[in-house]
Symmetry: C2
């Protein structure tokens, strides 16, 4: 390559940062090498995860929060995870929604990542993109996901503090969503708080937190916000800051980061081995052979896997 | 075990079916053996995937469709994938919502599966639960997921026909959702069609399908439905049946099933190898050692993974 991506990135070259994340996202051959070299320069940024159901106004909220951090003189990175077509790949939301005033600010770097691929690689790609921004020198890094499923939960595991954004009037599924996110939310934001049902939602959330209260040394605050009017943004930033100070003081931050390193090793390992073996099975023609045998009811996937593992593992 | 699960399941013992799925879900040691034995008895059921954003009324719709199939004399299996707390595990929605008239019908078997675990095992567990119901003799198997992310897409890959359920008034994220699901939807259902914006949504969907039209030999029908009033259910069943006949006739069904077998091998393989290696790294204490070294900036996850792969793969 003409440009030494790592060297340039560490010097603050935005194009190099962009290329590094492209290498991560597309699993280019040099991605592991880049990450290995960036790794020693990471660990300084504060990582804020933002998740919630579709329509909760997360991107508007992220923009307002980013501006508030910028007003404090902090540099900001934003990673927006977008639902992607499983076939064509590529992020959809990103370029459409993010055409706003933030993009004119040199202190803000915004990147969309698509949810393509199915080997569970997204959480590790997101974690790597966070690291690239961290090594670049960003003070605060947002990781924003649309959704409330397991993949979103995996993604926000890359965060120091996780904010869950809810809105009034979510319908039947809200109970399940609330239960699912209750334990990942360090800070709750009720956006569109001028809509009907906001106070009811706050009450319900409080009740659920009360029920859970015995186990908590941190009571997640619930803040009503009207993001597009800028209301509640200051209080939200305070909540986030308080949470970070809290986990820094009581050792939970160090614990989370250790756990994250652990998961990272396993994640990278699983993805790498999966790729290695798939490549091998395809190249040798064994995969097609097995598919044919299973179709003819001569064997089954479980028997196949047992024999492949015997063949490939020491 | 006191009961021969496979033998009893094939005889039509519901308790055995339930236990088989529990073994799959919790990754009991006997799960692979059960699946290997059930495998030859599969391939008869029609598998219908139902997905869509939270609040779209998928469970009500599923119930109505299930009743319609029952009225045709067909037996039904329902697998509901529920958002789960990442820490406590276990499905949440299931037992709460599913306490309805369907559960009194012997011809219907309903099972909730939680989205716990992070090694991407859910799609393969769902596929196995489908196979267990198939071997049991269910004619139609529903796989219902909440959400529109990559994990839901992976899950509906287990289906012959995929129905995407949308509702009017989804807010900003609808554009992204639509683009994401456009290519996985064989049949579209606009539920809550008496709400404002239903016709607009149908028009928008049609426009998107028009733009995509060049590549399609099947035009996904869009049906307006009011599930809780039973309106549009008959037409929806017809759409589903037409799609299945279409892919049966033109060879796409056979193609999909071949592809599914292929993905299944890779899925089982990845999960099994991942588990094997994690177990090994934990048991030897290597994982903790690596985490410590990374924390001290002596190495990084990529270098660690390269050396572990060298050690463990033939």
């Amino acid at each position: 390559m003409a440009m030494d991506i790592v060297e340039e990135l560490l010097k603050g070259n935005v194009l190099a940062l962009s290329r590094a994340i492209t290498a991560i996202e597309n699993e280019y051959d040099n991605a592991s090498e880049i990450m290995a070299k960036l790794y020693p320069h990471t660990g300084h940024a504060f990582v804020l995860g933002i998740t919630g159901p579709p329509g909760a106004g997360k991107s508007t909220l992220t923009d307002k929060l980013a501006k508030a951090y910028r007003a404090q003189g902090k540099t900001v990175g934003i990673i927006a995870i977008d639902p992607t077509s499983p076939f064509t790949g590529g992020a959809i939301l990103g370029d459409r929604i993010r055409m706003n005033s933030l993009t004119l600010d040199d202190g803000v770097f915004i990147r969309s990542m698509g949810t393509r691929g199915s080997l569970g690689g997204l959480s590790h790609k997101t974690a790597d993109a966070v690291k690239a921004m961290d090594a670049f020198g960003k003070d605060v890094i947002f990781v924003e996901t649309v959704g409330v499923g397991q993949s979103e939960v995996d993604i926000v595991k890359a965060a120091d503090t996780t904010m869950v954004v809810l809105i009034p009037g979510m319908g039947d599924d809200i109970q399940a969503i609330k239960a699912g996110i209750l334990e990942i939310g360090d800070v709750f934001t009720i956006n569109k708080a001028d809509h009907e049902g906001a106070d009811k939602l706050v009450r319900e959330m409080n009740m659920m937190l009360d029920l859970n209260g015995m186990m908590m040394d941190w009571r997640p605050p619930i803040q009503k916000v009207i993001a597009n009017q800028g209301e509640g943004i200051k209080e939200t930033i305070e909540n986030v800051t308080n949470h970070f100070k809290h986990i820094e003081a009581n050792g939970v931050l160090a614990e989370r980061r250790t756990k994250r390193t652990r998961n990272e090793i396993l994640d990278v390992l699983n993805t790498s081995i999966g790729k290695h073996i798939t490549k091998n099975l395809v190249a040798t023609g064994d995969l097609d052979k097995y598919v044919e045998q299973i179709k003819n009811h001569e064997t089954d996937p479980y028997t196949v896997v047992a024999s492949v593992m015997k063949k490939m593992l020491k």
